[in-house]
Amino acid sequence: MLNSKENKFAQFVLNIALIILSLLIIMPFLLLVCISFSSEKDIAVYGYGFLIKNFDLSAYKYIFRNASDIFQAYKVTAGFSFITMVLSVLLMSMVAYPLTKRELRGRQAISFYLYFTMLFSGGLVPLYILITRYLHLDDTIWVYILPGLISPWFVFMLRTFFSSLPEAILESAEIDGLDEIGIFCMMVLPLSKSVLAAVSLFVLLGQWNNWYTSMLYINNEKLLSLQYLLQKIMMNINLLQQNSGTFESSLISIKDIPTETVRMAMAVVVAGPALLVFPFFQKYFVKGITVGSVKG
């Protein structure tokens, strides 16, 4: 290499640029974290910033002492996210597997039946009326779970993967006397762990970040999802104070509640688990979108 020195320099600049870019992208989250560990007084004087003048845990202490709401929302969200993940992946696999059978009559009709829902929908109003007036799913945990169980996009992703499984193995299982349900449960699912993991993570992530369902269908405070609770706190600054009124009005006077820092601490408590867990499964997400971008 003639210009290897120049090359090294270029690489150095490139890496610095990418490091700065990466830091810029995670900077907003760092800001939330910094505010949540600041003292309320510093915020009032200096405003939000990245420098923590006086390290202060009172916002977190406040949350863990007072916010039974947030723990309830945690339980509800974890519950419906997990149930949705399991049911959704199982049911989508159940329809994806038959779609790999070329000789199955109506295979293309079923594909189209699923595909059409990606192109056209009845809109929000008919679904809302169906769920609230006919199925009466509003204010139940099922409204989080049932409507979105089957996503055609993931069904096609699963189908693409299932049809890439070596046919010889499936045939030999058939000769050994396994029926289709047996092959599906004992061969196809165990052989497809990686794609099942990818789809599970997408479903789990979607549900963990779900605020829309609560906003539309939930009035019962005990059934709110975590993200929607957070949204309510954002939209209504006084909510924290109202809650504290009911919890320990005798212990803290309202003006002493660290509102600004508590809000940001709440956001950290809500977003934190996702940020701690999901990046470890990055390879599945990456795989998911690269597989998904190829037509099945």
Binding site: G122, P126, L146, F285
Partner: protein
């Protein structure tokens, strides 16, 4: 001879039975998922006729009065119609262009980095916004733009200028929304382009280097032309979804402040607000049907174009 025949015919019969059993099982596997799709996707499609009725809660869907196209007329004559249509299309168009350009540049930067371990780390950091909800993103925007304490206003204050009341000044929001949109999607979007770049034949680059091309020429004459088919297809497919806005982006980052509706009110927020806040099922439903129909046409037309260019990439 006879026994052989019997055995054979038994085998055939059995085979037929097995085949039937096989299909019954396969259809059986599909049944529940397809039923769910029917209930939650197809039944609402029949509900489209609500848009042609004056829906009254006490009367229900069937007994409410037919009003023909009146709901559509009212909706399309209103001031809201122009605003939300323009906002939806213009903002989405900006997101598509800026988002793609940024994702492609990022992918090229990552590709040019020889430090593969570094690339993994950068990608992980850049994908993190994808794991956050728009609610949390709304908190971040608020941390920057809060008029009293916000980080940006603090910087403005330090430099001696007057603070800006961001949440009441629509003029800044097309840019803010674009930054938010790109921030959230750039990591994931660049993955696709990065994967495509990794697939380019390295001989092309070697040949260029032997011919004395510099980096800039290499990018302009090899990297970008090699990506062009993918860029075209993804761009067209995104245009197909131009009539559908990202509800969370427009609702959460603006904190649904009505002062910003002039730039941040889009189809999806309008449909939601009209139904859930104003309680006008008929108008909301008309807007929803319009969105579905136009959205459908966009996808069909763009898909037709994609099919002409590259049949393998077409959605159907």
């Amino acid at each position: 001879m006879k026994s052989v025949d019997v055995v054979l015919s038994n085998k055939l019969k059995n085979g037929g039975g097995l085949k039937r059993k096989k299909y019954v099982q396969l259809y059986g596997l599909c049944a529940i998922p397809l039923l769910l799709v029917f209930v939650f996707n197809y039944i609402p499609m029949f509900g489209i006729f609500i848009a042609f009725k004056e829906y009254r809660y006490d009367l229900g869907i069937l007994r409410s009065k037919w009003v023909g196209l009146n709901n559509f007329k009212v909706f399309m004559m209103s001031d809201d119609f122009m605003r939300i249509t323009v906002n939806t299309i213009v903002m989405n168009f900006i997101f598509i262009i800026v988002g793609m350009v940024c994702a492609i540049i990022l992918a090229i930067l990552l590709f040019e980095t020889r430090n593969r371990k570094g690339v993994k780390i950068y990608q992980t950091m850049m994908i993190t916004p994808n794991f956050l909800s728009w609610v949390v993103a709304g908190y971040m925007v608020y941390a920057f733009l809060n008029p009293d304490y916000g980080f940006i206003n603090k910087l403005i204050g330090l430099s001696g200028h007057e603070k800006i009341d961001w949440y009441s000044k629509p003029v800044y929001w097309p840019a803010i929304l674009t930054i938010c949109s790109v921030w959230k999607s750039i990591g994931m979007d660049s993955v696709i382009y990065y994967a495509a770049l990794m697939g380019i034949d390295t001989e092309l680059f070697e040949a260029a280097r032997i011919d004395g091309a510099n980096k800039r020429q290499e990018v302009l004459h090899i990297t970008i032309p090699q990506l062009l088919p993918l860029i075209t297809i993804l761009g067209i497919l995104k245009i197909g979804g131009i009539f559908r806005a990202d509800f969370g982006l427009f609702y959460q980052t603006t904190r649904n402040v009505s002062a910003l509706y002039s730039v941040a009110d889009v189809m999806d927020t309008y449909i939601f607000r009209t139904m859930r806040v104003l309680g006008d099922m008929s108008i909301s439903s008309a807007a929803g049907v319009l969105q579905s129909v136009v959205g459908f046409l966009c996808v069909v037309i763009t898909n037709y174009i994609v099919k002409k260019i590259d049949p393998d990439r077409a959605l159907f």
